[in-house]
């Protein structure tokens, strides 16, 4: 709170000097100032500020805050994100440049983000949380960690089912799970999941650890759901065929790149695309029977201390600019009206038949049983 008020005083001081600059303000800068002002009011006032209240604040404060041209940050937003680090950094930089709001960001995996949230339960500091697993996000919502943001800009343009009905979770990007293989070692890649139980693939297949990789868990539970929920036979056969459980996604993929293993089963596709683009000897196929696409959910925490900035951040994630960053990282864009030209798009990937609610409920049990089987 103290820093907030200090910033506010500093800003008013500079603002009087910058009278002329008002004329040169672009509309986006106006928005930024409004956001900045809101950060200050939002933190002290009722967090449930209505949108109209914000509009009023915008009008009132835009004129007296032209100092935003200097990167003098006005407030902050604390983001805990699981996801490709390069993308997270670009989004942070883009958001900071656009709104002049400092982003304090914690990069981890889904598991680490949840661990940090749990540890900080008594005194939460996060505003926005981004998870790589949709069912985990649903579980968080069910436990009352999140809050709705019905006014989110462009949320209507998201893919069907990539946003929930009461607008807690926003699937701003997604990855599909496939079979990644080393092109030097594999000339005829397997066509379907079940092929991996064939003796010709004995001992050369990795699968990410579902307790670390939210996406791998989504695949396992999605596949089980598709098969009638209780049929573990494929995974038992895979275990018998020497499939190794290997850490998070990158840790599962790296041995395949170096040739120690030949195949990653249920690895996230964007890593394969980006390694391939770099020139590494890998490629990916999507199995014939279908796969799981798991949207990465962004959500605002119920306890968000910088609520207005948090809303801005969600808006930014769904903006054209951030969506372009998403496709640049070889992920599937969350919005249906944007297409990626460097990878297979959402509508071209065949899906298994699964139900997120079932997966969210069963995730814990499935993860435990899978670990028991593969350890």
């Amino acid at each position: 709170m103290k820093t907030m008020s200090e910033m506010a005083t500093k800003k008013t001081k500079t603002s009087w000097r910058g009278g002329l600059a008002v004329l040169m303000l672009t509309s986006s800068l106006l928005g930024a100032c409004g956001a900045a002002g809101n950060a200050n009011t939002g933190a002290s006032a009722d967090p449930g500020n209505s949108a109209s209240g914000n509009e009023a604040a915008n009008g009132g404060q835009a004129a007296e805050q032209p100092a935003e041209q200097q990167p003098a940050p006005s407030g902050k937003v604390v983001v805990y994100t699981a996801g490709p680090e390069g993308l997270a950094t670009k989004i942070r930089e883009g958001f900071e440049a656009k709104y002049g709001v400092t982003v304090e960001q914690f990069d981890g995996t889904t598991g680490k983000v949840l661990g940090r949230l749990e540890a900080e339960k008594g005194n939460p500091v996060a505003d926005v949380v981004v998870l790589a697993s949709w069912p985990s996000a649903m579980a968080m919502k069910a436990e009352g960690w999140t809050q709705a943001y019905p006014e989110a800009a462009e949320a209507d343009k998201l893919q069907t089912d990539w946003v929930d009905a009461d607008r807690h979770l926003f699937g701003y990007s997604a990855s599909a799970l496939g079979i990644t293989y080393n092109t030097k070692l594999v000339s005829e890649p397997p066509r379907d999941w079940a092929d991996l139980a064939d003796p010709s693939w004995q001992g050369v297949v990795n699968i990410p650890d579902p307790s670390l990789s939210g996406s791998a868990l989504d695949f396992i539970s999605g596949y089980l759901n598709d098969q009638g929920s209780e049929d573990w036979s494929l995974f038992e056969q895979l275990k018998a065929n020497g499939v190794a459980m290997a850490g998070a996604n990158k840790e599962a993929l790296d041995p395949v790149i170096t040739g120690a293993k030949s195949i990653v089963m249920a690895g996230v596709d964007y890593m394969a695309y980006s390694a391939k683009a770099k020139g590494e000897p890998v490629d990916i196929v999507y199995p014939e029977s279908g796969t799981v696409i798991n949207p990465r959910a962004a959500m605002i925490m119920k306890t968000s201390p910088n609520l207005d900035n948090a809303k801005l951040f969600i808006d930014y994630l769904l903006s054209d600019e951030a969506q372009a960053l998403v496709t640049g990282a070889y992920l599937l864009p969350g919005r249906a009206d944007i297409k990626a030209d460097n990878r297979v798009n959402t509508d071209e990937i065949k899906l298994l038949d699964y139900d997120w609610n079932w997966m969210s409920e069963q995730g814990e049990a499935i993860s435990a049983r899978f670990l028991e089987l593969f350890k």
Partner: protein
């Protein structure tokens, strides 16, 4: 008079300081752990005193518990086999004149364990570097992926600990005792059996305990290598429960309590041995160490051993790390055309994320090391003769952080410092990181300084007192100068390990701040392995430079 003699190093009228020490440790170490234990006793918001034990009734968890203990035992054995001959060579032969050896021999320990394990994995795996260099190696390398390989990796990582402690002890024993025995007709084996080994035992027990505790609290190697061979230990399970969804702090803290219990038991055994074999070897008399020049074939053996040790502990892992850091395409393997310095250029570009992380690490580690030795010196002085219960508690509490897996302390620290009622708002600031490092690594400072202090004969203090020295004067002119080597060693150790600390950094760093370890880890997890490896090389290089500088400065004082 009797009290004076028994008091040894302890200065009179220090009881309030002893109290202050206990209070400090209570707040820093005990309270966070108490928060964790409390949490473990309330698994479902209802009190259950047996919750930790109930966890062990699960047969898988029980076998994991024994895995931990067995691993600890094997690694103590392994690092003893590696360290003992080296300590003799360095303390007693002309090989010890080469001061650079000391710095080089700390490198394995300065290498973050998960990096070292990665290096070994990259070297030994199918189509790995070993096979690329000697295709015939492919028939042998698969055997490395077993418990043997894991023990080898961990021993090669931890033996420097034992080496430093043993070598220091050997040097302090000095040549005169052995010469006396020799004059009286004792043969080399007799001297070894009746003089050197008993004098070493106290220090060895201390070092072995440290290695044991480090092993069973180690997370990096089990997380990388152990997972590959399916050897699960308590720490990897605790980590799983604290870091992966669904989070179960109750189970994690219960396992931690069990681990803690086991460690305390071993600590007790060590303490008994050390107390029985504690000798004052550093008296007022001059001391000299006999350095046997190694003739002919013995020099070959001596240097051969040193060389082999360095090759295994540094050569192979660093070959892998450096090779991986230089690779353009990891899929292309070892080839001259596949090399690039681009990863280093990216790291060392001022303002880049890697550069920031480096600066953060160095700054935080220096701050933490300084704070830790100040606190450590203060605490050691209060421990004195270790005869009183309160003094022994002080020792126990200062050792505690070493016996609890880092991740549990961090969770405790977060529970404490981020509690809604906490009036000191250091959570999510740099101060929190420094505090965590200090709590983590206080035991190192304490052990090193204590090791120095234990060798100071009480007669020195008494002599000072006889000549009218006030307590502060005696401390400043007699005790402190004799403690300096221990303080320096403690500083160096704390700096080194703070600079590569992973678990705590992952949990308490303010969002958007990175240190080298978290940078490397996130590169392994989600970024580029090559960039992570380049960072490993740079950060180990930098810490080595700092150590060399410290060693150089310290050389004048000894």
């Amino acid at each position: 008079m009797d009290k004076l003699i028994r008091g040894g190093l302890r200065l009179p009228a220090m009881s309030w300081r002893l109290g202050l020490g206990l209070v400090l440790l209570g707040g820093l170490v005990l309270l966070p752990l108490a928060m964790v234990l409390l949490r473990s006793l309330y698994p479902d918001d209802a009190f259950d005193a047996l919750a930790p034990l109930r966890v062990l009734s699960d047969p898988t968890l029980l076998s994991i518990f024994w895995n931990s203990i067995a691993l600890g035992g094997w690694v103590v054995l392994g690092s003893t086999l590696l360290a003992l001959p080296m300590a003799f060579l360095a303390a007693r032969t002309s090989i010890g004149r080469h001061a650079w050896l000391d710095v080089v021999l700390i490198i394995p320990f300065m290498t973050p364990p998960y990096i070292g394990s990665m290096g070994w994995i990259l070297f030994m795996q199918k189509r790995g570097f070993a096979e690329q260099l000697w295709p015939a190696a492919g028939s042998v390398t698969p055997t490395f992926f077993s418990l043997f390989g894991m023990v080898a990796i961990m021993s090669l990582h931890l033996f420097p600990f034992l080496y430093l402690i043993l070598r220091n002890a050997l040097q302090r024993i000095g040549g005169s005792l052995e010469e006396a025995a020799s004059v009286h007709g004792g043969g080399p084996l007799y001297r070894l059996r009746r003089i050197v080994l008993p004098l070493l035992l106290g220090s060895y027990a201390m070092g072995a305990l440290l290695v044991f505790v480090k092993t069973i609290a180690e997370f990096g190697t089990p997380a990388t290598f152990g997972r590959q061979i399916g050897y699960y230990v308590l720490t990897s399970e605790i980590h799983r429960y604290t870091s992966s969804w669904p989070i179960d702090f109750g189970k994690a803290t219960a396992l931690a309590s069990i681990l803690l219990g086991a460690c305390l038991m071993f600590w007790y055994v060590q303490n008994v041995i050390s107390r029985r074999h504690q000798y004052r070897t550093l008296g007022g008399k001059g001391m000299r160490t006999r350095m046997t020049p190694l003739p002919g074939w013995r020099a070959v053996w001596g240097w051969g051993y040193t060389g082999a040790l360095l090759l295994l502990s540094i050569g192979i892992p660093y070959f892998s790390i450096i090779a991986a850091s230089l690779m353009k395409l990891r899929g292309e393997g070892l080839a001259w055309g596949n090399m690039t310095l681009a990863h280093y250029a990216e790291l060392l570009r001022p303002g880049s994320k890697g550069w920031q992380a480096l600066l953060n690490s160095m700054g935080l580690a220096a701050l933490a090391a300084t704070a830790a030795v100040l606190l450590g010196t203060f605490l050691v002085l209060q421990m004195g003769s270790m005869k009183q219960f309160s003094q022994r508690s002080l020792d126990l509490f200062s050792l505690l952080p070493n016996t609890v897996p880092g991740i549990v302390i961090v969770v405790g620290l977060i529970l404490l410092w981020n509690a809604p009622w906490m009036p000191v708002p250091i959570y999510n600031t740099y101060a929190m990181v420094v505090l965590t490092y200090v709590v983590f690594f206080l035991p190192y400072s304490v052990q090193y300084i204590k090791s120095s202090a234990a060798q100071i004969d009480g007669s020195l203090v008494q002599a000072g007192r006889v000549f009218g020295g006030k307590p502060w004067y005696i401390f400043r002119r007699i005790v402190l100068p004799l403690l300096i080597p221990g303080v320096l060693a403690g500083w160096m150790m704390t700096f080194t390990i703070s600079a590569r600390e992973l678990v705590a950094s992952l949990m308490v760093l303010p969002p958007s701040m990175q240190v080298t370890a978290t940078y490397i880890f996130s590169q392994f997890e989600q970024g580029e392995v090559s960039l992570g490896m380049a960072m490993a090389v740079v950060s180990v290089g930098l810490t080595t430079l700092v150590l060399v500088a410290m060693n150089y400065l310290g050389a004048d004082r000894k």
